[in-house]
């Protein structure tokens, strides 16, 4: 098992390397080059100063040399300097990362828990009114644009009912843990909604398949109560494929966080990304893209390990 985890981590390295190459190429493809945004912003007039900057940034070198330099610096934790704030990109990201992780983790947990309940109940009560409603709900949830759902919830719960704050992470002058949690509710619900819908539907059909399996009949033949038959014998098998789906959805969850943070003024790296885009702050954009991708890769690793734990048929050799 340990060596399996070790090998999976080793397999991550070429993947992260590939991601960095693709992202670097994307950033280099910026019209006028990524540094163009800085140098031609009008802040610098003297051509000599511009040339000096070009040399300092290393952009006079061929692209592959630039990449190697970037990679070397990135490996030592240096993601460059932000054009807009002149602060180190790594520092800016680390400042904002906790908020994003908090939001994504809350949304993930919420989605997983609610989807578990909905999926199991719909499968056990197949063709019941609840099952029909659940299926309808999941179709709507999958088709609903995140930002519109955010607006509608703000409209109902913040503007009309006044129950929850519209945006931000705390009420100025009245911050407390409870206040913070109240601010978290809407963004977390918005971000999780699509996954509640998708995962519950997936779990339902996975569980329906498993409930027809021979070993579930065996469990019933042993006289086990339904809650044990479904909750232990069937559910563990039904959850295994769901983990792959969850891992597959992680990149989309990050995309969702970008929108959710923007709508709710949630100070994470997603919102910073949109701001960086308007400022053409390419080092920061590159840094956040890299960070987001690494989060996805790490989550996939966790999912793989979990898969190995849940499914003993996976070989570790």
């Amino acid at each position: 098992m340990i060596s399996y985890i070790g090998r999976r981590i080793l397999q991550m390295i070429p993947l992260v390397f590939g991601i960095s190459v693709v992202l670097f190429a994307v950033i280099q493809a910026a019209p006028g080059g990524p540094e163009g945004a800085l140098l031609e912003s009008g802040r610098f007039i003297d051509p000599q100063v511009i040339e000096a900057y070009r040399q300092r940034l290393g952009v006079d070198q061929p692209v592959h040399i630039q990449y190697v330099r970037w990679l070397g610096a990135a490996l030592s934790g240096d993601l460059g300097i932000s054009f807009s704030t002149t602060r180190p990109v790594a520092e800016m990201i680390l400042d904002r990362l906790p908020a994003t992780v908090e939001l994504m983790a809350s949304a993930f947990l919420l989605a997983a828990l609610v989807a578990l309940g909905l999926g199991v109940f719909s499968a056990v009560r197949q063709y019941s009114l609840f099952d029909y409603l659940g299926t309808g709900f999941s179709f709507v949830g999958i088709a609903m644009p995140v930002f519109w759902f955010a607006l509608i919830l703000q409209l109902i719960f913040s503007v009309k009912l006044g129950w929850l704050p519209v945006s931000g992470t705390e009420t100025v002058g009245a911050s407390s843990l409870l206040d913070h949690l109240l601010h978290l509710i809407l963004p977390a619900v918005v971000l999780s909604f699509r996954y509640i819908a998708g995962w519950s539907r997936y779990l339902r059909s996975s569980l329906l398949g498993v409930l027809r399996a021979d070993y579930v009949r065996t469990a019933r033949a042993k006289g086990l109560p339904e809650r044990v038959v479904v909750g232990i014998h069937a559910l563990r098998n039904a959850l295994i494929p769901l983990i792959s789906i969850m891992a597959l959805n992680m990149a989309a969850l990050f995309s969702g966080a970008v929108i959710t943070e923007t709508v709710f003024a949630w100070p994470g790296i997603g919102r910073m990304f949109v701001q960086a885009m308007f400022a053409r702050d390419y080092p920061l954009l590159m840094g956040i893209l890299m960070m987001g991708s690494i989060m996805v890769v790490v989550f996939n690793l966790v999912a793989d390990i979990l898969y190995g734990i849940l499914d003993p048929r996976i070989r570790y050799e």
């Binding site: 693709v22 197949q126 088709a143 644009p145 519109w148 503007v159 989309a252 893209l289 991708s293 996805v296």
Partner: protein
């Protein structure tokens, strides 16, 4: 392909009432939106300062915006762009994905390995942020938007098609055709691709919905097609400020997105059932 659609698949699909109703909705909305310049009661940029921010009424079924422009007209015009981008990018993404999937599955070995690692890489990069960066590089017009979205949505199709190709390759008729001297190109286009068409069509349908959501998200962030040209996304961006007092500006464009995407997904679901009736999971 035409035969496939006249055969049991088509009959199965017609039995799927929700998918049939959705087809009517999608077709209807597409036609109405495409014909917006002819059908819409007003011009999409006709500013009427005499009737700004009006709630829905008989003259303005969905109300008017801050500049007195008729919202219904703008929703129709916005739909043109959203639906066009959705369909075009689904075609591009599915085409690219099928190509990559077929080549990877057919040649196997190092080609397969390379292409699948590339797929892993692109899959690991969150789509929306990448889309945000790429879309800023070119003018936000329909063709370039569709191209960029298409370039970022081929991975799922590539994986599925590769899997299908690997399965089909084992089947005897491909071996038989090969032994008769069919060329690789001929094998792929004549024997393998038609047999993998089922998942490709389903994937393409679902891709339309995804693309519409991606495009509207981008426009919503102010990075897609720019005003005054209306899209459902940038109309919602405009509406954000006056959401509390003029909720109809928020509600209608969003409902339009929801309705189209929901219908497209229902069609995809129906197609899936029709193409593979054995895999039905008992969805009501």
């Amino acid at each position: 392909m035409s035969e496939r659609f006249r055969s049991p698949v088509w009959r199965q699909l017609r039995k799927h009432k929700l998918a049939m109703a959705s087809s009517v909705v999608v077709l209807g909305m597409t036609v109405v939106c495409m014909a917006a310049p002819l059908l819409a009661p007003y011009a999409f940029d006709a500013i009427d300062l005499g009737s700004i921010r009006q709630a829905p009424s008989w003259e303005h079924p969905m109300g008017t915006d801050d500049l007195g422009r008729d919202l219904f007209t703008r929703v129709l015009h916005g739909g043109r762009i959203s639906i066009l981008i959705g369909i075009l990018s689904a075609i591009i993404g599915t085409g690219l994905g099928s190509l990559i999937g077929v080549v990877a599955g057919f040649y196997g070995g190092r080609v397969d390995n390379l292409l699948m690692r590339l797929t892993d890489v692109v899959y690991s990069i969150p789509t929306l942020p990448l889309l945000i960066v790429l879309s800023s590089y070119s003018q936000a017009v329909i063709s370039s938007m569709a191209l960029i979205i298409g370039l970022l949505s081929w991975m799922a199709t590539a994986r599925v098609v590769r899997g299908e190709v690997l399965a089909i390759k084992q089947v005897t008729f491909v071996e038989a055709a090969r032994s008769l001297g069919a060329s690789n190109l001929r094998l792929m286009t004549r024997h393998i691709l038609p047999n993998a068409i089922g998942p490709i069509v389903v994937g393409a349908t679902l891709a339309v919905g995804n693309a519409i959501i991606l495009e509207s998200s981008l426009s919503f962030l102010g990075l897609g097609v720019q005003p005054p040209t209306p899209t459902w996304g940038n109309m919602l961006m405009d509406a954000q400020a006056t959401m509390a007092t003029k909720p109809w500006l928020t509600i209608f464009p969003g409902l339009a997105i929801l309705l189209v995407v929901l219908s497209v997904n229902f069609i995809g679901d129906g197609l899936q059932d029709a193409l593979d009736p054995t895999a039905r999971d008992g969805t009501p």
